[in-house]
Amino acid sequence: MLRMPRFEVSCPESLPEALALLAESELDTRVMAGGTDLLVALKNRLEVPQRVVSLARVGGLDHVTEQEGSLAIGARVTLAQLGASDLVRRLAPALGEAARSVASPQVRQVATIGGNALLSTRCRYYNQSHFWRKALGFCLKKDGTLCHVVEGGKKCVAAASGDTAPALLTLGARVTLESQHGVRALPLLDLYRNDGIANTVLRPDELLTELVVPAQRPGHRGAYEKLRVREAIDYPLLGVAVRLDVDPDSAVVTDVDVVLTALQAKPRRVARIDSLIVGVPIHGEAFEAAAAQLGLRARDQCHPVANVPGDPEYRRKLVPVLVRRALLRAAGAA
């Protein structure tokens, strides 16, 4: 079997207990929620901690609740729960789609939204066994000094690969980070950094405890499109989440947001798009033309590199296609 490094496991029962364990700094510690990413990283020796703190028993992290249209999601809520939740289907359809597109049924059964939001960046030169990486000569992100994606690159450009982040970003989600030193709430976008090695601002002593999706406007629609080889299991080679706000009376677009993932370390929000589509009625040719325009604008802002499998040029060609399809699907789905 594949071997994991020897480590201890702590299974705290409460949040304060968990935070106290994280505050102790003598043991190199990793947090484990569902463990579906962490265990693979351990088997590949991408992580070699001395202790793993499991959130499995920590109470109070597994709620999905609505308050005046706003959705609060505990960090340990599983993707299976989210994917099946009627609240999510109603209030944040793109999030539900994204959650259902992750991995496989067995993985979604234990994979958490917190773990998905904090998923490490991925790269074809990094997500490999120790033997393979050693044969390669390692890379900047772990144990090495070179980047194999960008020749001479000094910065890791591994790809954000979580499916739910783009959907959450279009919804304006906020995250709550807690440590013994206090609580921080920040927009999800600010959780991420454009650095493949340290892609979040989460501190080692902090836990992500909750995500909040603010109340959306009436007429809100969303969709998530994912490029992958198979219809299950595969990580995104490109992920596109869209939010369309539509005036319920006139059926014209009042606001739009498009976020892409699997490009660089940080999910990417497409800029300067309002003028292309706001004010356009969602039914009819004008909308289709606007969606196509928007897709092209997205493509101009996206520059896939050879970090994840698949030809980067192809991924770039697919940006406008996926963006347009996501918009059309969002518009069609009332």
């Binding site: 074809r124 044969a135 198979r230 296609v321």
Partner: protein, 781 residues
């Protein structure tokens, strides 16, 4: 030799089969459904050690020095071995034995085994590997076969011609003359990429040296007999002291048809330590072990008349063999020999060159050697049909070889259900009303093929039977069948049980099959080249006929009647003329045992003399051939380039379907595997020789959501020499899937795909070129 008897294709008693033709359950179905079935890694022996392999990080390098002292000194380590401990060369074919269990002087691909450690547990073994120091001197690696053929290329082995593993040039008829008189010639280049078996069970081996000096090896192999020979040779032991047992195998597809490093290492380590030693490959190691489909670059030219009569095929092929020979000699022949059918040709020439490269070795994968040229030729036929404005099914019909004929390279064809296969897929797909008339983006494509049902060429030349069976009828009412054949999930043991039950009139549970244990079972060559049903089936019938003669003659004496009137059926024996004379088979066996002593018989099978009278003429010669036709229905997304194979209509002539449910399972499994090769799988290394993704994540095999709808249409041609008329079903149904998809894409969007795999990126690029060409044409108008 009894082996060459024709047993006839009818039922043994009366006009109806009792067992044959039913979808009887498998011998091990419930054991597998309850988790009770034992696979190699499920076995633990007392005092067992765990072994691990150290692998080369370099694609091509000379080993300058190996220092294992620190590893050997690690507490818990029981033995460390390197190439020097197992220097004997081996390889599945006796002519090309270029492998050693662990690299000797050189490493030839990333992932090649270099050293092995046995320790008290896997953790310790892994830690010990880290302590082995190896000094390498790097050599130039070659990943492109054309590059490896250059005069200044670094030699990977000592070969007569630089890096040529095998070259075959054969010509039948006068190819140049046929091309000279042709009305049309299609001349194109095609390429097939590498793919691998990816059986879900990783390779595992466990060895134990008994106090009696017998070395027992449990292994997830398809070829117990060859493994036994190889272990004896490399460990320099007498063959009779090596016992190889194959527990349940979790899929093979040709990927477990070579003797492998791990088998030899655990044997050696068990001998050194005196303790049982197990080695289980992790998934990454399985990718390095490979032996998968050879990438091929093919330049094919087909000559035909205006009416679509095929005149000649001229094929030039370069096979990328990877680092070792494996079955490569045979692959090289198969790449041309099997093109002589299923269509009549007046001339055929092929020039195939297998080249060594610094990659995991290629070998036999389901449809060995013939899937790649079949792709090229069937696409070429589609191009011909387009050029001649002929229906592609009609073109194939016109060209089809008849039954009972000989191909121009001397292969004897017996039963032939090709036309029935073409008709079946034509009807099921509603070809006549749909093809060419579907909306843009949706299309139908056809392809057909033939494949061997075993080969008359054992991998080491000998005059002995290729399959043997021993039967013992016990007074308990049980008949035990001993067969060396390997049931790797395809149902070999189930078929043997059904045949014995039919022949002896037994209930299924009165037949017990003991298989694949070299101490107990007569030799069978193994589960490869689709030989098992045909050869082992015939051997079983042969053994049964002898046993049956004893049973019926004892009963005839007992009832004072004629032998010919005795019927054995459904657990009973009776006199056809006097049906009140009736005994259970248990009682019948007791009567026969009293008369003839302990009841045991042996049966065997050997092929008749087959094949052309030229060097290599027996390679590809089979006692019978199976035939297949596919129609693929695809949907092409012209914005993403993604091809969805919506449906595969698969018609396969398997002779007689001894168990139609199992035949259908083989057809489904083959067809889906072919479709996956076309659309998503790609086994390759990068510019450093590193595998592009040695995992089931990065080497995607289809999930239940990624498979086409499958309609398996069983065509029964009833072969004169197969057991009750049966032929193979495990490999043939794969071949047409790939070209049928390519041809369907042409129907759907007008793009001709000649290079595999059909990734969305490639298809999109082709569509863009097509669009640009159209616009260019429009602009010129």
């Amino acid at each position: 030799m009894a082996a060459r008897d024709r047993h006839g294709s009818g039922p043994p008693f009366g006009d109806v089969f009792k067992v044959v033709g039913t979808s009887a359950r498998k011998v091990d179905g419930m054991a597998k459904a309850t988790g009770e079935a034992v696979f190699t890694d499920d076995i633990t022996l007392p005092g067992m050690l765990h072994a691990k392999t150290l692998r080369s990080p370099h694609a091509h390098a000379r080993i300058v020095a190996i220092d294992t002292t620190r590893a050997a000194a690690l507490p818990g380590v029981r033995a460390v071995i390197t190439g020097r401990d197992l220097p004997g060369r081996f390889g599945v074919l006796p002519w090309t034995q270029d492998e050693t269990a662990l690299a000797l002087e050189k490493v030839r691909f990333v992932g090649e085994p270099v050293a092995a450690v046995a320790a008290v547990d896997e953790d310790t073994a892994i830690d010990a590997l880290e302590l082995i120091r190896i000094e390498y001197e790097l050599l130039t690696p070659h990943f492109d076969p054309l590059d490896a053929l250059r005069d200044d290329a670094a030699p990977i082995h000592d070969t007569r011609e630089r890096n040529v593993s095998k070259n075959v040039l054969l010509e039948f008829g006068d190819v140049n003359a046929e091309f000279a008189r042709a009305d049309v010639v299609i001349d194109e280049h095609y390429s097939f990429h590498g793919t691998t078996h990816a059986a879900i069970e990783p390779h595992c081996a466990l060895a134990r040296l008994g106090a009696d000096g017998v070395l027992t090896l449990y292994s997830s192999t398809q070829i117990t007999h060859y493994v036994q020979r190889t272990v004896a040779k490399v460990l320099e032991l007498p063959e009779h002291l090596v016992r190889v047992i194959q527990p349940c195998v979790g899929g093979g597809f040709g990927g477990k048809s070579d003797p492998f490093s791990l088998e030899l290492c655990v044997c050696k380590l068990a001998c050194i330590t005196g303790r049982p030693v197990k080695m289980l490959y992790d998934r990454e190691e399985v990718f390095y072990t490979h032996r998968g489909r050879h990438p091929m670059q093919m330049h094919f030219r087909t000559a035909a008349t205006r009416e679509g009569k095929l005149l000649a095929l001229d094929a030039r092929t370069v096979l990328d063999g990877g680092a070792y020979s494996s079955f490569g000699l045979v692959t090289t022949y198969y790449s041309g020999q099997l093109l002589a059918g299923p269509y009549a040709l007046d001339a055929l020439r092929f020039d195939s060159t297998r080249v060594f490269t610094n990659k995991p070795p290629c070998g036999p994968k389901r449809g060995h050697g013939a899937v790649q040229p079949r792709f090229a030729f069937e696409v070429q036929l589609d191009e011909l049909a387009t050029r001649l404005d002929l229906d592609p099914i009609e073109l194939r019909r016109r060209g089809a070889l008849p039954a009972y004929t000989e191909t121009l390279n001397g292969q004897r064809i017996t039963s032939n259900g090709l036309l029935a296969c073409l008709t079946a897929v034509e009807r099921a797909s509603e070809w006549r009303v749909r093809r060419g008339r579907l909306p843009f983006g949706v299309g139908l494509g056809v392809a057909a093929s033939m494949y061997i049902s075993g080969t008359n060429y054992p991998v080491y030349p000998n005059e002995m039977p290729q399959a043997g069976i021993v039967l013992e009828a016990n007074r308990s009412g049980l008949v035990t069948v001993l067969t060396g054949s390997n049931d790797i999930g395809q149902g070999a043991s189930t078929i043997v049980r059904m045949l014995v039950a039919e022949e002896l009139g037994l209930a299924l549970d009165q037949v017990r099959v003991v298989a694949a244990d070299t101490d107990l079972c007569p030799v069978d060559l193994g589960a490869y080249s689709s030989r098992v049903t045909f050869m082992v089936g015939n051997a079983a019938i042969d053994a049964c006929r002898k046993l049956r003669a004893k049973l019926t003659s004892a009963l005839a004496a007992h009832w004072e009647t004629f032998e010919g009137d005795i019927v054995l059926s459904e657990g009973e024996a009776f006199d056809r003329k006097e049906p009140t004379r009736r005994l259970s088979l248990k009682e019948a066996i007791a009567i026969a045992e009293a008369k003839y002593d302990t009841l045991a018989t042996a049966g065997s099978y050997n092929t008749p003399k087959l094949g052309g009278a030229y060097r290599g003429g027996t390679i590809g010669a089979s006692p019978s051939y199976s035939f297949t036709a596919h129609v693929a229905e695809v949907r092409v997304d012209d914005e993403t380039g993604r091809i969805t194979c919506e449906h595969l209509y698969v018609a396969h002539d398997c002779g007689r379907a001894l168990n139609p449910m199992l035949v259908a399972g083989q057809m489904d499994g083959s067809a889906y595997m072919g479709a996956a090769e076309a659309l998503m799988e790609d086994h390759d290394v990068d510019e450093r020789g590193l595998h592009r993704g040695p995992s089931l994540l990065d080497y995607p095999i289809p999930t239940a959501l990624d498979v086409p709808g499958l309609s398996s249409l069983i065509v029964e041609s009833i072969d004169p020499e197969g057991p009750y008329g049966a032929k193979e079903a495990g490999e043939g149904p794969l071949h047409p899937a790939v070209p049928a998809i390519a041809n369907a894409v042409y129907d759907a969007v007008g793009v001709r795909l000649r290079h595999l795999p059909f990734t969305p990126a490639r298809v999109l690029a082709e569509l863009e070129q097509q669009r640009a060409a159209l616009e260019g044409r429009r602009a010129r108008c």
